[in-house]
């Protein structure tokens, strides 16, 4: 006798099957992105199903971007995609590492499950392992925030590490400088919207630069000055087309055309009054978030004021930050209004486009990076790389501790876990050893991706660590074990988040023994 329990189309996977499907799904995702790991990692082409043409094409090395773009159906795989996304939001980089580490931990767990170990026992072991790995990582972290020169060198090194696995690797020294300078201008803020990246196809990648001023991708109004020195800037968000009556339900009703003409005149007068009020503040540059119609534009031109319309939200906010002005929407009390200022405002040409550059700004807490490159895909990938580097740097400024890369921290943690495992009685210690092995997989993958003899290198690396050289790492360009201090630096926050997210996700997936899939919702076209 059988009874149908679920909706039609629903499926259930149980115990071994559920576990198998989870672990296989996770490992598949890990294997998918693992070849992009490290400075010698490869890129992936993503082509969306909807656009067969060139515009849907992405060439990328960024784990989060890759995973985001693949429609996955496996539950465990979705968990990995989610941790990678969180990693992206939280630190900005390490999105591949977190997936690969979680998958490697699960790969080790699978073997333990085959030996009939209870998932909860494995989890207990993993928790102990994570704790000792974490404390090892913490004690190895150093901060040079007090020593300015060293601090800058650290930041540059972190930026280089991040960039070295991306498309910008060839110019990583240049871009590391660009990123560090950009982030230092934010003065500790982690708001990355303040760094604007302008992409212009054409030229070489090495033609890219960090602008000394701020560039707004807008045009100056007709008949208005193209260059203003000693600019006093009003940044506004106000309607400059027609000032509508905001009182609800108001409606204009006239009985003859003369009245209509009067009203029209009144409207124009109002606009003129508004422009005069604005002009009376003694400004010579007016930037508005909204549209400026021809009539006020002409009025501004008459007053010798440069007016820029339609600067969007981000543009206005950044400009306010750069020039130190306030975003204004009412102009009746000029004494309360803070105007922005900068030395020069001028129209410049990048590639073939005209833009407005604000040079020598007073506050200068925002900046612009101009990226050049041969193709659209190249520029997009370059932007993602820069964004990752900037994100990591800004997080490092908030949490200044650093650790060493090139597999050094992983080996360090693996050693600590192995040592701790020896003191733990019972089956948990086997799980801890497995965890240590998963950590060692990270340098192995790095070496494999670089086409080196991973077995030999990792064994030598491990030996070096047990020999007390706790700053040894892999030099993937030379193919040797070296002291990585000053060579490959990574943010402590990044590494910690990778470790914690990966083990949390692995734990979560291991705890599952049943998957119930509801019938997919019927979509009607």
């Amino acid at each position: 006798m059988s009874t149908q329990l679920f909706n039609e189309g629903a499926t259930e996977e149980r115990a071994e099957n559920a576990r198998l499907s989870n672990i296989i799904g996770a490992i598949a995702v890990g294997d998918l992105v693992k070849s992009t790991l490290g400075p010698k990692g490869m890129d992936k082409i993503l082509q969306s199903a909807s656009s067969r043409g060139g515009d849907g094409l992405i060439v990328t090395n960024d784990g989060a971007t890759i995973l985001k773009s693949i429609p996955l159906d496996n539950a465990a795989a979705k968990v990995l995609v989610n941790i990678s996304k969180v990693q992206d939001d939280e630190v900005g980089d390490g999105t591949t590492s977190v997936c690969v580490l979680a998958a490697e931990i699960l790969r080790q767990a699978e073997q333990l499950l085959d030996q009939r170990m209870h998932p909860q026992t494995i989890i207990d072991g993993f928790r102990l392992a994570t704790a000792s790995a974490r404390s090892a990582l913490e004690s190895s972290a150093v901060s040079h925030k007090d020593d300015e020169a060293q601090w800058r060198e650290d930041l540059l090194s972190i930026a280089r590490t991040t960039l070295s696995s991306k498309v910008l690797a060839a110019d990583k020294h240049k871009f590391a400088e660009v990123c560090v300078d950009a982030v230092l201008r934010l003065k500790g803020s982690t708001n990355l919207d303040r760094i604007q990246i302008i992409k212009k196809a054409g030229g070489k990648v090495s033609d890219s630069y960090l602008s000394d001023g701020f560039i707004l991708n807008k045009k100056i109004g007709v008949n208005q000055p193209r260059l203003i020195k000693g600019a006093r800037i009003l940044v506004a968000n106000t309607p400059m087309d027609t000032d509508k009556v905001k009182v609800f339900g108001a409606k204009i009703k006239v009985s003859d055309t003369a009245q209509l003409a009067d009203l029209e005149r009144a409207e124009r007068e109002k606009m003129r009054a508004k422009v005069q009020k604005i002009a009376a503040m003694g400004i010579n540059v007016f930037v508005n978030r909204q549209l400026i119609y021809n009539w006020p534009e002409q009025l501004f031109a008459d007053a010798g004021i440069m007016a820029i319309e339609h600067a969007d939200f981000d543009g206005v906010e950044r400009l306010a930050l750069v020039t130190g002005g306030e975003i204004a929407s009412s102009f009746d009390s000029p004494e309360l209004l803070k105007l922005g200022a900068c030395d020069t405002v001028e129209e410049i040409i990048i590639g073939e486009d005209r833009m407005v550059k604000f040079g020598g700004a007073a506050a200068g807490q925002a900046c612009t990076v101009v990226l050049r490159g041969g193709t659209g895909q190249m520029l997009d990938e370059a932007e993602r790389s820069i964004h990752d580097a900037i994100a990591v740097l800004s997080q490092t400024i908030a949490e200044p501790r650093i650790v060493y890369g090139g597999g050094c921290s992983e080996m360090l943690m693996s050693k600590a876990v192995d040592d701790a495992a020896k003191l733990v009685p019972g089956k948990k210690s086997i799980a801890m050893e497995a965890f240590a092995k998963a950590l060692r997989q990270m340098p192995t993958i790095l070496a494999d991706n670089a086409g080196l003899d991973s077995a030999d290198l990792v064994a030598r690396l491990r030996a070096a660590h047990y020999d007390g050289k706790s700053t040894s790492g892999l030099d993937l360009f030379e193919g040797d074990v070296v002291d990585v201090v000053g060579k490959v630096t990574e943010s402590f926050k990044l590494k910690r988040q990778v470790l914690l997210s990966a083990s949390e996700a692995a734990e979560m997936i291991l705890r599952v023994d049943d998957i119930i899939r509801c019938a997919p919702r019927q979509r009607r076209n």
Partner: protein, 539 residues
Amino acid sequence: MSAIYTTDEYGRPFIIVREQDKKSRKSGIEATKSHIMAAKTVANIVRTSLGPRGLDKILISPDGDITISNDGATIMSQMAIENQIGKLLVELSKSQDDEIGDGTTGIVVLAGALLEQAEELLDRGIHPIRISDGFERACKIAVAHLDKVSDVIPWSKDDTSDLFKCAKTSLGSKIVNKCHDQFAQIAVDAILAVADLERKDVDFELIKVEGKVGGELADTALVHGVIIDKDFSHPQMPKEIKDAKIAILTCPFEPPKPKTKHKLEITTVKEFEELQKYERETFETMVRQVKECGANIVACQWGFDDEANSLLLQHKLPAIRWVGGPEIELLAIATNGRIVPRFEDLSKEKLGSAGTIREMSFGTTNDNMIVVEHCANSKAVTVFVRGGNKMIVDEAKRSLHDAMCVVRNLIVDNRVVYGGAAAEISCSIAVEKEADQVSSIEQYAMRSFARALDVIPMTLAENSGLPPIETLSYVKSQQIKQGVWSLGVDCMDTGINDMKEQFVFDPLISKRQQFLLATQLVKMILKIDDVIVHRNDEQ
């Protein structure tokens, strides 16, 4: 015509169910058995989630979203069960969740076990009604016995160690047992902060659980104040305000909008100009009124006009707009402020006060939240949950809710029974003993009830990797020999099976509710002997 029919004494057909091809009918023992089958299947799914070593389930929604949970009620409600009896079990765990908040897995497992036992009795030819009568009697005995074996745990505002232990029992089976002590402490502190100890009541509305992905579970914290998932209305407003005097408004910073339907017609230039003047003045009055009452920050339920926003900035009044209904109430409670519906009603007394109000930013995506701390009234708290991924944050929220419910239940009634299935085992012994004294056929049903109670310790043992039958018989004999009711299954392999020493407590009311609700449902299912299902026309 197809129909189920019988004939009367003259041989004339007598139609019972018309159009049989569109309907299906099951009756008698066949119906009861198919129900039991369905219920058993459902119970078997959640069975492995029971206890501190229980495992989780992945639920994939029709849209492909994933929930990973250990909470019985959550699993049941998201399984999309179509079977009617299955749906009853979903309701069962839901009512336990609504009423008690914890023990939602246990109740389903118990109901499943009872039905399984009932099936055997049916096979022996005992009438379903007699079975349900027997269960009813057994349940009464069990509940009475629960009262007997319960212990009162002393607690006070200063000594919460026992509440803490109960919260730990509830959290033991969840993924958050990674930070076991921390979460238990958060649950206890949160409840005690808002509890009305005189009336023995806890208002859950005052506890907000806010989650944000990122960081790790150990970063979860209890904030004595309110967290609002918004940012300041103007990017250039200060990000931190000390000694805040907050005006809580439910009127928009926009020109007034009369509620009655109206029409305002402008016919002359003069009117046009006057209207514009009026508009400007309204904004100025609004801002002035706020400023004059002494506020230095504004929280508003509605939006701001651009002009008003700019005026607020000029007058150094940071403001938060679009604060949701529940948040604005919490804010009012926390800061001892009054919610003001009109600008004219603003006055000094109606302002709320808070030590600090600051904007907190996360990660690299410019995500902000506003934290209101050191409030005038400590009776509103927020638990801020962090975790490495979305699923874990959601699960942590659910787990915390369960733990808080347990603490709440203890504040209402501080009697506890011992966990680790100690209570079930001792009830089983008591029921069995009583059964021997019953002369009617119900004694069979009562013995079955006792056996069903044994399923709980067996499941616990099984999930913990212990030999189920051996463990059960050992604990049972120990309980009878020593007469100690607190012996249970040692799930965590600590070597001690006295739950009193392991500090595994469950609130008495939770256990009692489990017994009562499960028995009630089983009785209901046993009483059904005929099911007629209308199929949809299209099928």
